[in-house]
Amino acid sequence: MSLLFPLMRRDPIWRFMPFAVLAGFGALALDLKSPALQGGIAGIVGSLYMAFLGQARIHERASTFEAALPIDGRDLLRARLASLLLFLWLPVAVALLVCLWFGPAQAVRLAWPLGSAAMAASATVVLLQLYGLPRIGVAKAVALAAWLSVLVICIAVAFLVHPEPGATSPLLGLAAIGLLIAAGAFRAWPKSSLALQLSPVELQRADLPASAATTGDPGSWVVLLRSLLNTQTTVWFGFAAFYPLLNNFVMPLCFVPGYVTGAYMSLRWMFPLPISRRRILGVILLPFLALYAISAMVNLTWGIGSDGDQAIDPRPAGLRLASPWWKHVAAGETPVVQAPWGETHSPQIKRVWLVRSYNPWETGPENSRQFRDWQFRRATQAVFGQEVDWADRARLDDLRPLNRRPVENILNVAALLFLSMFLVSFILIPRWSRISHLPAPVRKYGVMALLLPFVAALAFSPILAEPLGNTGILDVFSMAWADTVRANPVAAWSTVLLVLWLMYALLGKQFSELEPDNQPASAKGRSPFGGGLFS
């Protein structure tokens, strides 16, 4: 037990701590500035955790090096679990502490989404760890019991925290049963096997039955598919298809680096073969991007969960407006809206970090009804391209905002694809042979430093102004396209194709100039992460 702390300290997960803390702060910043996001925060943090956990191969509870030392396997398991859980909760704790500085109300408001994200991730960690038990020789029944009990407890806790009326008492019973099974499993564990000691070695050579000899000639590309579609990359594919359908167009962008890293590692055996790097890049990237694009396009066009119809939300008090239509104002200036008959209103200024923006069609309680109607007509003209009277406001449901026309959708999806490739190009920089003569820390951290302005640009951009839709980021990029491009589908298509082709060609060039490993593996030693891009 005294080994716990030293073992935890050398746990490989800590390497990800800077990223996790950054993620925690990012989530915090988002939440502080856009309370509208409430539930979304948990999703973001949870997804980031998933990305880290996917990298960290959590099912391997110790490295081969540790397994060879005279350490009890159970200590290794405890240390690994404790490190993983601490890793998950530390950013949450940091975020909450910072919130306390802003005021207890903020902290309480944040506690639920952040906590639930960490809770879900913790449950995943524990379940995954337990899932590996039968593979290392612990009796299947014991492992299954442990697994089930944790699952039951998780469900019960989730419902207890979020109570359904009348469901509390049976759930309490369920929790009790789960705890009982867990206690039994816990007592049986130490007796069941010493095989815990052997975990990493055993996991590497899982005793799978040798597959029957295949007689036919397998297709030559089968091996490619088999290499590409491992557990890790399949999950990324799922995310690429899943998130855009849930109206979250940006999240797959966060997963692109993880996916490309995984795919790159799985396909690097092809590098010495006479197959062009561009082709390998195509195999890695195109299916992923295609899935992403199709999924995003389907949602944008048929609007499975589109919030396009809420571009303007008319209310008696005035109208609420989606973020893309807000206007910026320089510091020190006060925007004033003046009607032709002289009535004025100065809209409230929302500040997100350094960016100040306002709703140009806002009305105040002091304004006349005529002013409101005038503002509404102007707003609909700007948002939908036609004037709508306040009396006809029900018609808004049938109108498509300008930023959701087909041509805009094409531009938006193209922007997502462009950004994906941009990010891929970015994370590949440390392995680029053109900079291989630079000192290693410059290569490694220079990229992060370069990435910072990019992240900052996103963080400070007006999309964070409330009310934030998850599609906000799309609008920022589509608004950046020139009006002429938007007006003409042919121009739009040719611009899109040209820009994407250019980016892909550049990426292809960079990819063919990558160096597979910075140093012969024999000199580096085996990384517990299998030598991912982060290691």
């Binding site: 799978l208 000639d217 088999r226 055996w269 010495p272 042979s433 000192p439 012969p520 000199a523």
Partner: protein, 297 residues
């Protein structure tokens, strides 16, 4: 004859300022067998990766079949067979699938060699790569490297970690290739026995440079190892003598490596040192290696 592989003043570093290769120049002719020797970290793998176009030199040029390997990677690699100690094969694929993939990539793929090697290594086609032992996996890699009858076979420490029987099978397959195709072979190895069996030319890399470049038999017969008692100033005297490759002190004795036959070397040393007690003889490759690069780091 046109060189198959040319290195010209190759420099490469992994950490800025620490050159792993600091000006390596040599070339490999058609059908030549060349063994790269050197300590761990001497840059053998780096040089081989540069030849494969997997990494680029920071200075100097490399040409494979007269072209830059990064310029036409597909065309160049189609003519090369490559096996490395740290080679990764796709774990989820079966041997048959991997072979099918290689068949597609290499137009010259020879199915009779494939059947012959599968049989010799007793590998079954349906087996998944991840279920193979280390030796079997390396045999699969060798099979993939040999069956397209490469003009240049590059073996980077191919027998590292293999048992003696597996190493011998490896050698047998390489020698068959030499017999059949007369391919050029560039290999690195720490097994001096294997190096002697493959023969040909030896290049010893040390401190980023070519320390020795000679025919194996010339090395064995044209280089002498002399031991003599250490005394003040003697090391400098010997180091200044022509033909002296290296002199260093160990256990109170001077170890000197000279070009030349033992008789003439000991006579010259005798004259130069004013009659020291000298033992001089030829050294097997392993001794030569240790004496040339040992005790330095």
């Amino acid at each position: 004859m046109k060189p198959v592989l040319e290195f010209d003043n190759i420099h490469r570093a992994y950490k800025a300022g620490e050159d792993v290769l600091a000006g390596v120049t040599f070339s490999l002719r058609e059908g030549e067998v060349l063994g790269l020797l050197g300590r761990n970290g001497a840059g053998k793998s780096t040089l081989i990766r540069i030849a494969m176009g997997l990494i680029v030199p920071h200075q100097g040029t490399v040409r494979v079949f007269g072209a830059e390997p990064t310029g036409d990677p597909v065309g160049v690699r189609r003519r090369i067979g490559y096996v490395a100690e740290d080679q990764v094969l796709p774990p989820a694929a079966t041997i048959a699938e991997l072979i099918a993939f290689h068949k597609m990539l290499f137009p010259k793929w020879d199915s009779t060699i494939e059947a012959d090697l599968l049989d010799r290594f007793s590998l079954s086609r349906g087996e998944k790569i991840r279920n193979l032992s280390k030796g079997q996996a390396r045999q699969v890699a060798l099979l993939c490297a040999l069956c397209h009858r490469p003009e240049l076979l590059i073996l980077d420490e191919p027998a590292g970690g293999l048992d003696p029987a597996a190493r011998r099978e490896f050698l047998e397959a390489s020698i068959q290739l030499l017999n059949r195709e007369g391919s050029a072979i560039l290999f690195s190895s720490h097994h001096m026995g294997d190096v002697e069996r493959l023969g040909g030319r030896i290049i010893l890399l040390d401190q980023g440079k070519v320390a020795l470049d000679d025919d194996l038999d010339n090395l064995r017969e044209g280089i002498s190892l002399a031991f003599l008692p250490a005394s003040s100033g003697r090391q400098q005297t010997i180091a200044a003598m022509p033909g002296c490759l290296r002199v260093h002190e160990a256990n109170g004795e001077l170890h000197a490596i000279f070009r030349g036959a033992p008789d003439s070397v000991s006579a010259r040393l005798y004259a130069a040192t004013g009659g020291a007690a000298i033992r001089c003889g030829q050294a097997p490759l392993e001794e030569l290696f240790v004496e040339m690069v040992g005790g330095r780091r």
